[in-house]
Subunit: 226 residues, 2 copies
DNA sequence: TTAATACAATAGTAACACTATCATTTATAA
DNA sequence: TTATAAATGATAGTGTTACTATTGTATTAA
């Protein structure tokens, strides 16, 4: 694939739209690299400022705090993922094949894009795996949820849940199964890499393993019972 | 139930065993209350010290940092949970009934105990739901894993995975299914409470809902195919 | 040419995550 | 009972984090 993609990320997530300036895009791009390298807890605006040779104060003009920056990055990812799902499902009719395509997407790295958004897709993927739950597992979740900062995630979930309902309208838990698939896909990849005894991974290709597990989990849950 | 329980929590998790002194037990008990109230990010040793009218320095004599304290609390929880599983499964033969009992345990509050460990079980449960993944989603996971700080969690998982293998020896992913059940049980409870649109809850009793969902998920995965 | 905007440079504050020192209380053992 | 060690309290201090404020300069737009 080779085209430019661009999404309107929720404007409650930034003070000044980083998408509009070179510096803004540098901030986001280098934030991804640095969060990947240091982990979210060790990542600070100070370190990011040094990395791109600017000052903390400047970064604060774009983002209120690092949590919002993380949410911005994740929203970009979820929006992109929803776009990819839409794109890949074009011209597909069979609900089973559609769901298989979705699982493949959820367990693959993002395709590289050229142009303005040359974020490191491998890093971005790892951030989603290791850091995304920290975006919602916070005490002020109900406050930040009011700003609709989880809309892209919810939209993606709802789209996949619809596919499940299409496959088997009688299945009772399409949304919970969807979030379980998505979150489990991250967890199992993380465990396979870091705590492999918590999984059944045996090959070297962890993504293949997770893909297999999730397909089994999904289709045995939603199979139409006679 | 009414008896005293006591576990040997991994001694790499503390500097001085909090289990041996009144002050140590106060620290753990009040840490649970405070982490529940403030969330792990806002929780500090300073605030805890004020709460129990001691000083930061004193708390540092028991725990190196708040991450280790969280791990200590979670290890206590996982050890207790494994004990409860063992206890509840006594005298049960039928693997299906055993697995149902396990899911019931995973989706219920801990029973109250008297004696030294009068931790607030409702708070502890919420901490497990909201904070436990923060114990392992850290950059230095491989370092801390060397100290076997995840052993109680792994032991519990392995015990449940064995039950799955007992039910259906041909099922390929007993461990991954187990971690998925446990983690999903937390997530779905968290989502039901905070981001209900990501789930299919309709009743007021979120625990019943999660229980139903997980049983369905588990047994459709491991059903013996003809 | 003026005026606005964007950014850099610098300084400062309160909280956090510790470490160190020393005095005092408490438990224990000779 | 006294000596001794261990546990805790009190206090201080350091470097870092998470910001906010101010002021000067370069760029751009009217």
């Amino acid at each position: 694939m080779d085209f430019q993609v661009s999404f309107n990320v929720n404007n409650k997530l930034f003070v000044k739209d980083p998408d509009n300036t070179d510096l803004g895009r540098q901030i986001v791009k280098n934030a991804i690299d640095l969060i990947y390298t240091l982990g979210f807890e060790q990542f600070t605006f100070k370190k990011l400022a040094i990395e791109i040779q600017t000052t903390e104060a400047t970064i604060y003009r774009y983002f209120e705090n690092k949590h919002k920056l993380l949410l911005y990055i994740l929203n970009w990812y979820w929006s992109y993922m929803e776009f990819l799902v839409m794109f890949k499902l074009q011209n597909l009719d069979n609900p089973e094949i559609k769901l298989i395509a979705v699982i493949d997407l959820l367990t693959s790295d993002l395709p590289d894009t050229s142009g303005k958004f040359d974020y490191n897709k491998k890093y971005l993927n790892q951030i989603v795996i290791s850091e995304s739950s920290k975006a919602y597992l916070v005490k002020d979740i109900s406050e930040i949820n009011k700003d609709e900062v989880f809309k892209p995630y919810k939209d993606l979930c709802s789209k996949i849940a619809d596919l499940i309902a299409e496959y088997n309208p009688k299945y009772q838990f399409p949304k919970s199964l969807t979030t379980t698939l998505i979150e489990s896909s991250h967890q199992q990849q993380f465990f396979a890499d870091n705590l492999p005894k918590l999984t059944d991974v045996n090959s070297n290709n962890h993504q293949d393993f997770v893909r297999l597990f999730l397909k089994e989990l999904l289709f045995s849950s939603i199979v139409k019972k006679v």
